[in-house]
């Protein structure tokens, strides 16, 4: 649906389900899903690291699958369902992947953590018992500069064990 705003720039109504809740926004066509989540909806757990799809800090789940929200236009996501890091813990109880990141020391500066955790969660959703190699494949699009990935891989494997 298209509407004419006061300025000459066309705005589009976008309806998104974010973390289970319906959100509606009026956006310019050039707004990315990342900016819509951060600037309009205040889901700032989704981070801006490179804006070009190279770092994975902006990873969210779109209809359950991890994507770089910096490369997706908000208008293209209209009608879809998004999970951000804020949607993982339930009533103050952490998701097992979050819990494992905390307890295994997988978090240092924390800037990659939301994207990293969502990539890990998505992996365990499609493959509850991954090998170490599969974990590394799944997070290869999430760059981390602090950890050398050692404890991140450990944490995701531990969360998988907790599944069983």
């Amino acid at each position: 649906m298209v509407t004419e705003a006061k300025t000459s720039v066309k705005r589009h109504i976008v309806t998104l389900t974010v973390n289970g809740d319906e959100h509606v926004a009026l956006v310019k066509a050039n707004t990315t899903l990342l900016d819509l989540l951060r600037e309009e909806f205040d889901y700032t757990g989704t981070k801006k690291g490179c804006e070009l799809g190279d770092c994975g800090a902006c990873t969210v789940m779109l209809d359950g699958e991890p994507v770089n929200s910096c490369l997706i236009l908000a208008v293209e996501a209209d009608g879809h369902s998004v999970t951000t890091i804020e949607g993982l813990d339930q009533n103050g109880k952490l998701d097992p992947v979050q819990e494992a990141f905390v307890n295994h020391g997988a978090i240092q500066c924390g800037y990659c953590s939301p994207g990293m955790i969502l990539s890990g969660r998505a992996l365990l959703n499609r493959n509850p018992h991954p090998t170490e190699r599969e974990v590394r494949e799944a997070i290869a699009g999430n760059l981390c500069r602090c950890t050398g990935y050692v404890r991140i891989v450990e944490a995701i494997l531990a969360a998988a064990d907790a599944n069983s």
Partner: protein, 289 residues
Amino acid sequence: MIVPQFEYLVPQSLQEACALLGQHGSKAKVLSGGSDLIVKMKNGLAKPDYLVSLKNLDELKGVRYEAGTGVIIGSRTTHNQVIANPILREKYPSVCAAAATMAAYQIRNIGTIGGNLVNAVPSADMPPILIALGAQARIVGTAGERVVRVEDFFLGPGRTVLGQDEILAELVIPDQATTGSNYVKFGLRRAGALAVVGVASSVTMAGDVAKDVRIILGAVAPIPMVAREAENVLRGKKVSDDLIQHAGKVAAVESKPINDIRGSAEYRRNLVDVLTRRSLKAAIEKGHV
């Protein structure tokens, strides 16, 4: 970084999409996955006035098999869908494996096989294997449909045979007697790296004779390059390590690499030699397609 402004058009049919593209000509671009186009726009390398979104054209998604035609891959099929597709995994696992060498998981959920071709980047990973398997591109325009070999699809970096009103709709991998194929990529990192060189090959073996051989080189010429001389080294011959060695050398000589920040021409020629040998060996020995 800001995506420059544009008018967003969402056709409901392929015909409408082509009509919109025809109407706006060079001012319009097709938006499929966007993993390349949005990057280009943010970097100021593309400033289309119109984006024609294919998001409602579900007929361009998915993989199916039609007897007598072959495996048909919709151009909007994402790389991860290609990787996971049961038909492809059974018939052409080399296509799945090539897709798995690309970028990283999240990008493979966004980027599409069609986009990988239409972008016409010399280092693109899908064209070499598709050409090696004799794939064809089904192109739809306002005037109707035409079929072009993927081998003939590229004109130069960023340029293809697509007319302004045309959309790459499907890729067809025809039924074939090929006994083995694969794509070997050399990147400077194990994920998120463009190919310094990529080599795809396919062979049709009869005993130890290579009845047919295709060798396609990526990232060493303005467009994916068929290594014809190297193919001729093996075609119709009884394969041997010596012949494979020779084919690698010949491919290196006929490749046309340039120097850039990922590697010198000299180094790339060496990689063509090495990867051609490795690709051929695997195609001949391992047998899977």
